[in-house]
């Protein structure tokens, strides 16, 4: 049987990789994917805790996280498209001003 801490450790590593991705990547889309990675990492710990505590609440929570992630992806990608249209770039370092 797999100890809970393994899952949590994996979750933490994935989360930190997500943060790292946010820090070192420049493409908006990749940064966005890093965020998704972080969300997934958190989901894993939810499910792991749920299994550990023998409750389904963790899974329900994951469900909600997924809903929010889906909504976020829809809006976020729409924003990315809008940004790309006005600035012709996906490099976040070039998207550092609020006005054009």
């Amino acid at each position: 049987m797999v100890p809970l801490s393994y899952y949590l450790g994996l979750s933490a590593v994935l989360f930190c990789l997500g943060v790292l991705g946010f820090l070192i990547r420049r493409s908006i889309i990749t940064i966005f994917m890093s965020i998704e990675l972080m969300l997934n990492a958190v989901n894993l710990s939810f499910v792991a805790f749920g299994a550990y505590l023998h409750t389904l609440n963790g899974q329900v929570f994951v469900f909600f996280v997924m809903v929010v992630a889906a909504a976020e992806a829809a809006v976020g990608l729409a924003i990315i498209i809008a940004v790309f249209r006005t600035r012709e770039t996906l490099n976040v370092d070039r998207v550092n001003l609020l006005k054009l």
Binding site: V19, L23, R26, I31, V92, D93
Partner: protein, 659 residues
Amino acid sequence: MNHNEPNLYLWLIPLLPLAGAAINGLFGRRFPKKVVATVGLVFVAAAFLLSAWASWQLTHLPLKIPHIEEHLPWITAGGDFRVDFSFYLDQLSMVMILVVTGVGFLIHVYSVGYMEHEGGYYRFFSYLNLFMFFMLTLVLSSSYLLMFVGWEGVGLASYLLIGFFLTKDSAANAGKKAFIVNRIGDFGFLIAMFLMFQKFGSLNFSDVFSKASSLPVETAGGVGILTAIALLLMLGATGKSAQVPLYVWLPDAMEGPTPVSALIHAATMVTAGVYMVARSNAIFSRSPLALVVVAIIGCVTALFAATIGMTQTDIKRVLAYSTISQLGYMFLACGVAAYSAAIFHLMTHAFFKALLFLCAGSVIHALGGEQDMRNMGGLRKKIPVTFWTMTIGTFAIAGFPPLAGFFSKDEILWKVWANGYKALWVAAIITAGITSFYMFRLWFMTFFGERREAEHGAGHDNHGHANNGDHVHESPLIMLVPLMILAFLSFTGGWVNIPKALGGNNHFDEFLSPVLSTGTMSAEPENPSLEVTLAITSVAVASVGLFLAWLFYCKRRDLPDKFAAALNGLYTLVRDKYRIDELYNWLFVQPVVEGSRKLLWQEIDVGTIDTLVNEAADSAQLVSNEARKMQSGNIRSYAGWVALGAAAVVAYMIWVGLR
């Protein structure tokens, strides 16, 4: 509302003019002048008719007096503070609403003609109606607070109307002066209300008066809260009613159109102080000290203003000082607890002073805006109606029987004497003589002798006509009819209160006596022969005034100048209104202005506050200049900070867990 009482629709009386003001104010710009005038007149006329009806009901039905109609709750606070929109009708307020709506209506009618050629016609009528609304609120209110609303409201309307010719600097300044000087008085009124609430727990007239009546009289040794309240109320009254020391705004207020001077600054608003003191007689009667102060202020004002009036050359300013002087009479009456005499004089004064102002307006109108009496003369034939009505007004104010002024002034003089204030009586009788002198001076200078051309240039040009008026013309009928009605009233107005000593029955005093129960001091001895003697004295003094005026300004035209030369210093002092304005300027205005400039502005504002703010801003900028590097706009650096924060939070949590 008490359902056993008939509804007199008192709330409509003030609201009708308000409706007129709203209609004219909101839409009047697009109306033709006729419509504006009609709206203005109809609502005031309706208010007058309603007042008359209510008065008839009050006097002829077995109503409970005072008749109080409560409408909406207005302010409720803290459980025991409650002021409603409720109206209060008794004999006193009945007289007041009749005077206000009656004279007010006549002046509205007059204004239709007088303002014909002025700009801002709708604005004028809107303000005038607004004034009526506030004035009626003032006199009909059933509590000091609602009265204060009217009090402030008439101040506002007065301010607006004094500054009606808003492109003229002097008019705008006069408006501001009136407003600011009135603030001082209002300050007293407010403090008085605070004290009243603190002492009586209510501001409603009924509560306050019943509780005040149950308190002992505060004699000189036991001066207490009632005296304080009374004196503070008197401070309010000196502001509103232009008494010493706060009278300075009223002469300047003559910058407004003449009907305004007649309505607001002669007949109605300025008498609000008298009304308020009379209304608060329950409080004043419990404080002899306050009464003495009131009497002295009134007497000093009367004499003081009368002397200034002798030297003025502007026709409206003479009348303005005359108004101040007459108001002083009323306060003198109040001060000797002869409230009904004060109200009586208030009423007759409303008639004849409105008449005089309107006549002066008619003269000015005829001369195309000329206000300087030195440039008038010989108008008797050219404007006969104005002349005759003005004659009635002049004789009335000078106190010749059987005109209105004689009875009211004489009653005051008698009451002063009868209450034992002999010194005040002397001052008052001198004032009466001076009054007679300056009024006839005005009369002679305006209507007799030869027409004197303008030596002093254009003079006051607040009137739309061409200035050099060879074609002096009588005013239109719509201006003359109010003059005639007011002349009639000035003639007969005194007959309602012919003293018993002269075979009358003091009807007016008895009518008012339930409200103005004169309390402790009305125990004057019945002495008809003395009363008659005093009356004859006052008529004689008035005649002397008439004679001197005739001598100086009709017979021997060179005398005034010689006289002035002989008394050069004194004359100049009086002509310059005792330099009170300059004194106030030096005493109050300059220190305030200089203090504001030097201390508040340059030291405190610029030197301290600005410096502090600038320092704060500079330091904030200094910090921000460093801190803003965090807000680089670079998302990745934001993420870096967030990561740092996350690490810190986790570290803290682990540390807490370990502890």
